[in-house]
Symmetry: D2
Subunit: 356 residues, 4 copies
C-alpha cells in the first residue's frame, strides 16, 4: 500500500481534488468476464451522494460515473477499468479566508508543512469527495466476491447516542437517514441531530460493517493479515480515528474463558458458539461473519469560531459557513462497506494465487 493506490492484486488508484474538474480512479486486477455496467456502480454512489436528506451536506453533486476503459460489450476484459466523475458543483467562490488560515481538524496545516503549498479550494485532495471513488471501486469488488458474500454497514453510535443491539434489524437500515438498525434509536437520533445541525455544531459516529458468507482461509500471515488490511482500509477513510475487529477494544476487559470462541460439529460442519474474534483468527477468516467497526470524528467545519493561526504566522479565528455535514459519519457507511469489499476481493485473489 503506498500513496494513492490501495490493494495488492485488486488495486485501486484514486486521483482528484474536490474543486478540480473531475475525480476518478483506476481499478486494476479485476478478473475478466464479469458483467459490469455503469448502473452497477451508480447504485452504490447514489447511497453516498450528498443532498439525500437534511442531515448531509447540501452540495449538489449528481456524481454520475463513466467507465472509460476495461469493459467491452458489457464484460470486464481484465485490463484496467478507469472511472471518472465530473465535479459539477465546484463553485468559484471566495477562498481567501481558508487560503490563509488553517482550519483546525482539517489537513490544511499538515499539507502546507509537508508540501510547502496546497490546493486551498475547499477540501482539496483530502476532501471526503475522494471517497466517492472508493464506493465506485467497492461496487466492482462486490462483483468479484459474487452473491455469496453480503456486505452491510450500519451506524451504531451517533455522538452520545447508541443503538440497542437487542433491537438490531437490518431491514431498518435503509429506512432512516442514518443507516441505523434500531428503529427506535433512529427516531431519537433525528431530533438529536437536528439540534446539533441547528447549532452549527457536529458530532462523531461509530460505523459497523459486517461481511457474511466469506469463506474460511482468506488472509495471509503475518503482515498481509486480513485484519491488518481491514484496519488499514478503515483507518484510511477520512476522519476515522479508531478501528475494531470483533469485540475490539473491549477484549482488554475479557478473560481467556470469556473470549474463547468455542467450536462444535453441527450437521457435519464446524460451528462456532460465539464470535468475539469478529471472524478473524491469526489474520485469517474463520468462515464466520467478518465484523469491523470504526469511529468517525465530528466534522471539523463548524459555525462556532475556533482559534487558529495563519500561514504567515499570526493568530486568528475561523468559523465555517456553508454546506457541511452535521455528522459526516452518515456518509461513511457506504464508504466502510466499499472498503470491506475491496479488502475481501483483494484477499480472495491473493488466496487463490497461493492456495489454488
Amino acid at each position: 500500500m503506498s500513496f494513492n493506490t490501495f490493494g495488492t492484486l485488486f488495486r485501486v488508484t484514486t486521483w482528484g481534488e474536490s474543486h478540480g474538474p473531475a475525480i476518478g480512479c483506476v481499478v486494476d486486477g479485476t478478473p475478466p468476464g464479469i458483467a459490469l455496467k455503469e448502473a452497477d456502480i451508480q447504485v452504490w454512489l447514489d447511497k453516498r451522494k450528498p443532498g439525500t436528506s437534511r442531515f448531509v451536506t447540501q452540495r449538489r453533486e449528481p456524481d454520475r460515473v463513466s467507465i472509460l476503459s476495461g469493459v467491452f460489450e458489457g464484460r470486464t476484459t481484465g485490463t484496467p477499468i478507469s472511472l471518472l466523475i465530473h465535479n459539477e458543483d465546484a463553485r468559484s467562490k471566495d477562498y481567501s479566508d481558508i487560503a490563509e488560515k488553517f482550519r483546525p481538524g482539517h489537513a490544511d496545516y499538515v499539507y502546507w508543512k509537508k508540501y510547502g503549498l496546497r490546493d486551498y479550494r475547499g477540501g482539496g485532495r483530502p476532501s471526503a469527495r475522494e471517497t466517492a471513488m472508493r464506493v465506485a471501486a467497492g461496487a466492482i469488488a462486490r462483483k468479484i466476491l459474487g452473491r455469496r458474500v453480503a456486505i452491510r454497514g450500519a451506524m451504531v453510535q451517533m455522538g452520545t447516542e447508541t443503538v440497542d443491539r437487542g433491537k438490531w434489524d437490518w431491514k431498518q437500515v435503509p429506512k432512516n437517514p442514518f443507516w441505523c438498525p434500531d428503529a427506535a434509536a433512529a427516531k431519537r437520533w433525528e431530533a438529536y441531530l437536528d439540534g446539533i445541525r441547528k447549532a452549527g455544531s457536529s458530532v462523531g459516529a461509530v460505523i459497523e460493517v459486517v461481511a457474511s458468507g466469506v469463506p474460511a482461509g482468506l488472509g495471509a500471515p503475518v503482515y498481509g493479515k486480513l485484519d491488518v488490511d481491514l484496519a488499514a482500509a478503515m483507518m484510511g477513510i477520512n476522519a476515522v480515528k479508531g478501528v475494531e475487529i470483533g469485540d475490539g477494544m473491549a477484549v482488554a476487559g475479557l478473560t481467556g474463558e470469556e473470549n474463547a470462541d468455542e467450536m462444535r460439529m453441527k450437521g457435519g460442519k464446524v460451528a462456532f458458539l460465539s464470535n468475539h474474534a469478529g471472524g478473524i483468527l491469526g489474520g485469517i477468516s474463520t468462515g464466520q461473519d467478518i465484523v469491523a467497526r470504526f469511529a468517525v470524528k465530528p466534522t471539523s467545519s463548524i459555525l462556532t469560531p475556533r482559534r487558529t493561526v495563519t500561514a504567515s504566522g499570526k493568530n486568528a479565528t475561523i468559523a465555517t459557513k456553508g454546506r457541511h455535514d452535521p455528522c459526516v459519519g452518515i456518509r461513511g457507511v457506504p464508504v466502510g462497506e466499499a472498503m470491506m469489499a475491496c479488502v475481501l476481493a483483494d484477499h480472495l485473489l491473493r488466496h487463490r494465487a497461493q492456495c489454488g
Copy 2:
C-alpha cells in the same frame, strides 16, 4: 504490505516458526553509515524476553541475536541486514493433543482450512515468538530516526484494571513488570494478575505507544497515510483486536467544538492547545506527539477446558497446560514500540524521497 514483509522503503521480512531451528528477519532499505552492533538490538530484545518476571511465560529463550550481513566495521552499508535468533527451548515434547484438536482463539483451525496442513508444534508461524524479530527490526528503525525521536510504550489497562492518567509518570514504566505508568495501579495489578495466573486464566490489555519529536509532514495521502500504516502495524501484532489514534473510538461521542485542536503562535512557533488527533491530521504528522493505542485479547491458552473440534470432525475439549502468559499484553509493549519505530522510519524515508 504483503505476506511476510512490512514497510515500503524500510522493509522488514520475517521468517521462522516457534519450534523450528531459528527465527530471523531481513531488514532492507536502511541508510548507510549508521553505527550498529548486536548489543544495540539486544537491549530491546531483552525487554521483551520471556521469563523476566512471574507474569510472563517461563519458556527459557535467551534470544541472542546475530547480525549476518549488512554491517561492516560497525556501520550499516546500505545492503540488507540479516538477523537470526536460534530457538533454544524448542523441547521435543508431545504435540499429539494439539496436532489433532484446534485450540479456540488460536490460528490452528484457520491455518488448517487455508493451507490444508500446519506446523502444529506449539505456536508455529503465528506464534508470538515472531514478534522478537519485530523488536529487533525496531531497534534498527530507532537508529534511523535518531535521538530526536523518543518512542515509549505503557500498559494503560489490564483486564478490568485501568490507570489514573493524572498519575502518569514515564519513570515508573520500567520499574514494574507491567510497563505501567501509574505506580499505585501497578501495585494493585500485581495482586490482580497473581489471581488470574493462579486460576490458570488470562486477561487482555490496552497498550499505549507515544512518539515524541516526530517532525510535521510524515505520511502520504490518501492510502499511504501515517495512521493507515500505524493501524496496519498495530493490528498485525498477535492478538490485537482494536487500534486507536489520539482519542480513538471516543471521538464518536465528541462535538466538533470539543474535538478541534486549536492553534496559537507561541514563541514564533505554531502550538496546538490540545491533541485529540494524536498528532495526525489528514494522515500526516502535525509535529505533536503521535499517540497510538491497541487492545490485546487475553491469552487463548488457559487451564479451563474449552469445547472444540478435531481435524477429523469430532467434538472434543482442550485445556492448555504449560508455560504461558497470564497477560500476553505485557510482552506486547516493546512490540508496539518497535512497530511504531518501523512505521516512522519508513515514512521518514518516504517523505525524504518525495519532498527532499
Copy 3:
C-alpha cells in the same frame, strides 16, 4: 512492478484501449512545487504523434492532453496527477474480420487464451496507442530530473540499414523523419522505407537512448538495479524483443582487458577512459552517460496475407489493410526516451530516500 503500474516511488498507472473513449494515466509520487502545465507535456506528445510524415500511421489523433488533478496554480502539489487524452479517430468501422481471426505477431491470440474474451476493436489494450501516456509521464519525469539531465534518443538501425557512428550528430536527429543521427544514412533510409511502405511490408529497428548528466549512485542492488529497471522499461514497450546496456550483447565477444573501463583523475575528478558499461556498474550509475538500446520488431500488420487460425478453430489467412506504420520503431524513439526519464526519476527519488 505489476500489471498496469510502472515504478516504485515515481509511479505511473496507465489505462485505456485504442478504440475506447479515451486513454489516460495517473502519475503518483511527483515532488511538490514543480512548475507544470499542459504545454510542457504536449511538446513531447507532438513528437510521437501519428501523421507527422508519410512514414508513420496516418491515423489522425491530435492527442491533446488534459491535466485533471495534482496541479494547482501552475505547480505540482504532490498529489496524483491525472492525465487524459480523448480518442478522436476511433472510427466505428467493421471489425468482424479481426474479431474472429488472430493476427500473427499481435496479442490477439494470447489475450483470448488468457482472458477468454478480448476487445477486438483495433489494437485494444496492447495497442501502441498506450505509449502516448508513457510519453506524457516521461514529460513529468524530465521535470523531476531537471535541466542537468539530458535524455536523447536516436534510431541506429532500420531494417538492414545502419548508421555510421563516426558521423553521429545529435543535431541531425530532429531534422529527418527517422530520428537518425547520421544525415547520409537518413537520406538512404528514406528511399529504403518508401520501398517497404509501398510493398505493404514493414521492418524492425534499433533505438538508442542516452542520458547525460546523471549523477553517480543511482540504482539499488541487487534486484532494484538501475539496469534491471531500464531493461524492464524498454522490454515493456510494444514490439521490443531485445535490450542492451552499453556494449550490450557484444560484451560476449570481448576480453576482460578490452571491456575494462579504466579510470584516471582529471582535474581533481574521476574520469573513465571508455564506456563499455553504458554508465552502469553493479546496477548503479557511474556518472558517465547512461546508454540503452532496444530492438523493435517489424510492424505485424502487413498487406501480404499470412496464415492464421480463427477463434472457432479453423485455418484462415489474414492481411491488414489500413493506416499502419511501415517501421513502428520510428514512433518508439520518444517512447524510449520517456521510459528512460521515468526510470531515472524513480531512482533519483529512491536514492534520495535511502542516502539523503
Copy 4:
C-alpha cells in the same frame, strides 16, 4: 521489484556478502503442500558450485544449504522458507589493496559513491556469490511449476566462439564444462578457454534459457508482462549487459513477413509454424517454448594491470591475482535457469489469482 526482493507473489529476498558469515534468502508465497527437502535444492546448487572444473574459480565452497523454516514434515506450509549457506572459504586475507583502489568493471567505485562506504572484502554484496541464493530459490520455483515445465540453459557463445545451431543436442549440455549443446564446439572451447585462462585473461559469453511446457496466458499487460519480468530477471544477474527474447536484437533486420509466426490448426490444436517471438506476444506466453538469451561480460578480475584511481583521489594500477573465473558466464547458466523458473512461478500464481 525493489532493492533485495524479487517477484510479486513468489517473492525472493536475498541477503549476505561474499566474505560475511553466511548468505541466505527468504522465499515467500510458496503454495502449501509441496514436497521439499534440502536435497531438492542442493542438486541445483551443486551445478553452480565453484571448483567443479579448471574453468571456474577454485574457491572451495561446499555451499551446503539449510532450510530454517516454512517446511514441516517434508512439505511446504505456505509460510516463508528461509534458506542459509555458511561462507566457509572466507579467508582472512589482506584486502588493503582493493580497500583503497577501485577495480575497473567491479562495483567498487559506485558503492563508494552511493553509500559513502563499502564492504571491501572480496566481492561484498555485488559478488556473484549472491547468485547461489537465486539458484536455491529457483529450485523451489521449479517445484511450483511442476514436471510439465522443463527449463534448460546452454551456453551458445563464449568469447568469439559460437555454437552451430544445426548441431544442438540438449544431451551434450551436462557432458562438458561449458553447458555447450554442440559437442564439437565444446571441444574447441576447451583449448580456447585454456589459452584465456593461462593468459590471466577472461572472456564474455551468451547464455540461452529455454522453458518448455509453459501454458499460454502467463503474463500481465502492460507493465507486468512476462518478457518485462524476464528482462529484469536476466539483466539483474551479475555482469549481464544484454537480454533478448526470441530473435532478440535481430528482429530489427527482419521484415513483417519474415517475423510473423504463422498459425495452423494441427490435431485440433493451434500450432505455430515458427517461434521468432520466443513464446511471448504482447507480454503473454503463447504456449510455445519461452526463449531468453543474455550476454555476460568478461570477468573483470584479470592478471593484466589496468589503470584506476584510489578512494583518496590518486592514479594507480591494479591487477587481480587469485582464484577467478576465466569465463564467469559458465556459472551463469544455472543462474539463468533459476531466474527463468522464478519468473514463471511468479506469473503462474499471478495468472491464477486473476483468471482462476
